[in-house]
Point group: C2
Chain length 222, copies 2
DNA sequence: TTAATAGTGTCTTTTAGACACTATGAC
DNA sequence: GTCATAGTGTCTAAAAGACACTATTAA
């Protein structure tokens, strides 16, 4: 097809969020090819029309192939484009973000953790993408059960409150939190299940899980 | 460059919103080329790397060239992609939405107006894009001065309230509306300026305009 | 003066935050 | 029992809605 050489380079990049010591953390990967080989960057790669059903599908494939991550909540963030963002030429990257619970992280490869609010310098416009993802998760976290996807399938209310605090970056009122969580009906008790006591946790707490209702707020989990 | 033929087709499409008889209205254009020549569709076209600085810049250029529209509030919505959305092949469209005040509409060409909630059947996945844009404007309209961008530079409070009602799709409480608008400090009085009385408007009202503060809420106006 | 819309004041309801209090289980 | 955390109840403050009321101006 004539004019084909005028098409932009099309890639996807994914911002990975997880919890580390109760802080919102991002996971970066060392680039193995130029440009910026050796630099820490978002996990990304080319969209492959012959095998990807969508850009989100491409992001999912790349997370699996390059980081061993699967089954994550993964959502489109925004598209970044321009002549100068990539030395290979006019490029377009459909940025995504994903939430990585600790269990999924066990199988992952080659990822390094950094505080989400204080990342190292990043190549391309990955710094701007990370900042946009952080802004998105903060906004969206305030009125959905999204932060709970950073936790295991079952969790206690104090744990849930701590994740909301980490995601939103502010302290929450205890009784107001329980009231709101209850009103939204996003979680339900796991019958007869209580958490183990640990060194930090003197008293076991009731275990909860997300209700089916909680998931309709999300686009999808891949 | 090898592998170039594997790059997706990259386009932009823009959902245009305006007010018509107090209702939120979308503006569509008859396509002059295949595929779907003659169908009403969103205003869109190819991204041209040699002249566009970004996809939003491409959307702005296409609005100017194909519809004679300039100076609009224009913002990225989301990116739609896949093998089947366009018969020409695997394609990706960066969807945008724009707000068209009546003054800008005067210079526009070849646009037809339809109720935003009840559009005609649209080709490609333009129906889904329009639905997403409507959802976005409703959400964002609730907590920003965005709806005011559908009005002229100066407007009365009753007019402003009517736009919010059209955008949000629900009736608002009068005194609560004034209180909120005042608290947000998004508008200011135009000194000694009052609207004209008309057939529907028995009594002139104070004219207001957006403050500079109101604009920081937005990404940009092109 | 009347009709119609502009604009205000105030009461009620709802929601969110503060914070003291009780409950439970490990030790 | 003691201590730390889980969980509840209640008071207060702030925000949102209902709605009656006053103000202004064209006719």
């Amino acid at each position: 097809m004539a004019g084909q050489e005028k098409r932009p380079i099309v890639t996807v990049d994914t911002v990975l969020f997880t919890l580390r010591d109760g802080r919102l953390t991002t996971l970066l990967q060392s680039r193995d090819k130029p440009p910026h080989a050796g630099s820490l960057a978002l996990v990304g790669g080319y969209v492959r029309p012959e095998e990807d059903a969508s850009t989100t599908d491409a992001a999912s494939r790349i997370l699996r192939q390059k980081a061993g991550l699967a089954g994550l909540f993964l959502e489109q963030l925004a598209t970044f484009s321009g002549p100068d963002r990539d030395p290979r030429g006019w490029s377009l990257s459909v940025a995504h973000y994903a939430l990585v619970p600790e269990a999924a992280l066990a199988a992952a490869q080659g990822l390094e953790a950094f505080p989400a609010e204080d990342p190292p310098p990043l190549p391309f416009d990955h710094g701007a993408i990370l900042a946009a993802a952080l802004a998105r998760i903060r906004t969206k976290g305030a009125w959905s059960s999204l932060p709970a996807l950073l936790l295991p399938d079952t969790f206690t209310l104090p744990e849930l409150k701590a994740v909301y605090e980490a995601v939103m970056g502010e302290r929450l009122n205890d009784s107001a939190f329980r009231r709101k969580i209850n009103d939204l009906r996003l979680i339900e008790e796991v019958p007869d299940a209580r958490s183990q006591a640990t060194a930090e946790r003197r008293r076991p707490a009731q275990l909860y899980r997300l209700t089916r209702r909680a998931f309709v707020a999300f686009d999808r989990v891949i």
